[in-house]
């Protein structure tokens, strides 16, 4: 449940969990190189830490096959002030990132072809939410948490269920999910995530100015946001994916017990096990055929 308000610091203190997309398939074809992107992000992280002594930043890398924690300011920055915060942060972050990319690449040796080259957003969202829950239960005063998703890869429909679950649990814990989409098309998942949890979604038009976008839109703390003009959602794509084949569908069948979505008529709901009756739209013509062919 959401934490009691008396345990939060005064308005300003934030914990920002940044989900970095490291999908090599996306970055190899992007106009902005990964190194340039990292330099924007590192300066942005430093500015968050500058704003308030108690601010915290956690970075989770979203890879092609796996996700991992790359950086945690409360652990890594304890004794770094003499040598300058930036060099210490950069070196530790870059080192961990390199190790992570290597491990991620190893995992993709045995991959079936034909999969959309999307990154494992559901995994990193879940990791971020687990970290935030741990902070909530730490007992001490804690900062306002929020999640910032820096994504460029397209949506993977097979992750629909997991991502929606993560979004709803973020909504319940009152954790806004901001998203900055850098790919070519639109990301329905990210738009929905920001819309449902009360975060901000933005697709920058000029990627060279990414740092300025980050500073203007995403650096504002949660309390000040209620007073600022921020990009509003314009036409969120609410299409769902079906649970059986993971295709994006506009119209389908819904189980009345657990609200799972299917594109074709099934005899039994795969999520909750409730038995369905005959499909009324297919009427008498198809019903004979259905009785003959067994459903899997």
């Amino acid at each position: 449940m959401a934490s009691a308000p008396s345990k939060l610091y005064a308005d300003d203190v934030s914990l920002v969990v940044v989900l970095l997309d490291t999908n090599p398939f996306f970055w190899s074809s992007s106009s902005l190189s990964f190194l340039q992107f990292l330099s924007h992000v590192l300066s942005f992280l430093n500015s968050i830490l500058t704003l308030n002594q108690l601010n915290q930043v956690v970075v989770i890398a979203t890879g092609y096959n796996s996700c991992d924690y790359i950086f945690d300011s409360s652990l890594d920055l304890k004794r770094s002030l003499e040598n300058g915060r930036m060099p210490v942060m950069c070196s530790s972050l870059l080192q961990k990132l390199e190790e992570f990319s290597f491990k991620d690449e190893q995992l993709s040796k045995e991959e079936p072809e034909g999969r959309i080259k999307c990154s494992l957003l559901s995994g990193s969202l879940s990791m971020a939410l687990c970290y935030i829950q741990r902070v909530f239960r730490s007992g001490a005063l804690h900062p306002h948490p929020r999640i910032l998703c820096l994504q460029g890869s397209p949506d993977g429909p097979e992750q629909y269920v997991a991502i929606m679950n993560a979004i709803f649990s973020a909504q319940r814990s009152v954790v806004p999910i901001d998203s900055c989409y850098m790919g070519a098309q639109n990301s329905a998942f990210l738009q929905q995530a920001s819309y449902i949890t009360g975060g901000v979604h933005h697709k920058p038009q000029n990627l060279d100015g990414l740092f300025q976008y980050l500073m203007t839109i995403f650096a504002a703390d949660l309390h000040s946001r209620s007073f600022l003009h921020l990009p509003k959602p314009v036409g969120v794509d609410f299409r769902a994916s079906c649970f059986c084949h993971k295709n994006t569908i506009d119209m389908g069948y819904i189980c009345s017990v657990c609200l799972s979505i299917f594109c074709k008529h099934h005899k039994k709901c795969s999520t909750c096990g409730s038995v369905f009756g005959q499909a009324q739209s297919e009427a008498a013509s198809a019903s004979d055929k259905k009785r003959k062919t067994p459903e899997t």
């Binding site: 009691a4 308000p5 008396s6 345990k7 610091y9 005064a10 308005d11 300003d12 203190v13 300066s43 430093n46 500015s47 500058t50 704003l51 308030n52 002594q53 108690l54 304890k78 004794r79 002030l81 003499e82 040598n83 300058g84 915060r85 930036m86 060099p87 210490v88 942060m89 005063l141 740092f211 300025q212 500073m215 203007t216 650096a219 504002a220 703390d221 309390h223 000040s224 209620s226 007073f227 600022l228 003009h229």
Partner: protein, 450 residues
Amino acid sequence: MPQVKIIAKNFMDMVASLPAIKLDMLYRNQFICEAILRSLPPLAKKYVLQMLYIDVPITSKSLQEWVIADGSSKHKVAIDRLIQLRVLEVIDRKKETAYKLNSTFQTNLRKHLINGGILPREPMPSNVTARLPTLEELDAYAHGQWECFLLQLISSGQAERSTSFSSSMMRIFQRGLLRQREKEVPRLTESGFQFLLMDTNAQLWYVIREYISNSEEQGVDQADLIAFLLELSFHTTGEAYSLNTLTDDQRAMIKDLADLGLVKLQQGRKESWFIPTKLATNLSVSLTDSSLRKQGFVVVETNFRLYAYSSSKLHCEILRLFSRVEYQLPNLIVGAITKESLYNAFENGITAEQIITFLQQNAHPRVAEKTPAVPENVTDQIRLWETDLNRVEMTPAHCYDEFPSRDVFEAASDFARVHCGLLWEDPKKMRMVVKAEIHMLMREHLRGNK
């Protein structure tokens, strides 16, 4: 109740009152830019970040468009603060005002964000420094020093040992907090009581502010001291820094800071060094309103009894201000909040809000998790007792009646209303009561109407 407030933010006001050249010099230090940025209200911080890489001036109208209508008062507060600290420069074009970031501030903050700042001194290698105190020992030392200083501040007899501040320095700190009549024991003033109920960081800033204003009279540069203090807050707690890296002025200041508990001085065989404590490194946190809540110690029960798990004399004195202390055990102070004790406090100028805030902020961790931390019947009763003292409101006034006509009466009542002096009127009996301050004006008005 008379409104007397000691606000720790006044430290930033003191910074803002430095002449422009000195402020510019201060802004050359990257850490000071960071400390100033942290002290701004949240909206102002956002404006600075957004304008950091914009070189052209921005009109005030476009700045206003960043905020929605509800936030316009906060917007104004933020802009005023930025202009006061000379972070934002006003460029008056003929038709409209435009703003630009102070160029020194802008350059240095940019550098700070991209490269990260490097402190002018490094911690000493561990082979030179002898056994360094652990963080807990350091904390205990800092608290001990600070409490001793506070006790000496409010009543010299109570402290176990006196600090090395000269009596003239103590008198300067006590100015405004204590009042001494001849042959009488010095008594706390209203501001003194309010000072005691503030949290540690606010008290610390108040003392430092007095110290710095006083140092100006002794010829030490204020800006230097302020710069040193702000820089100190970026050092690491528990690390030793050599005294050789300090200027003479800073060295003199370090000794006084050690008395306050901000640093600990130690001496090795050849070198001497100072170790910043948590009080020092938390300085820049407390520049804004948020206070770092340390471990609370007070439990208030619904039957108005008070249990304070503390052995500190200072806490006992503070509790005696508004409650009746019944027993004092080695680790526990037992008391009760009574009508009499509260009336005592109200007579001394403490408000109910201050008492309630003190109890809430110092609530023992066991009760702090509950909402409310202090039982509602206690907080409501404290407020009721306060309003009970103010049941009757009296205003010196004049009563006007026997008006010749209704028109004269209405003209007079409008006149009084415009001057905000109308207290009461009865149109049927044509009688009105007006504040005594505008009686002369009323007389002129009535004579003029003949």
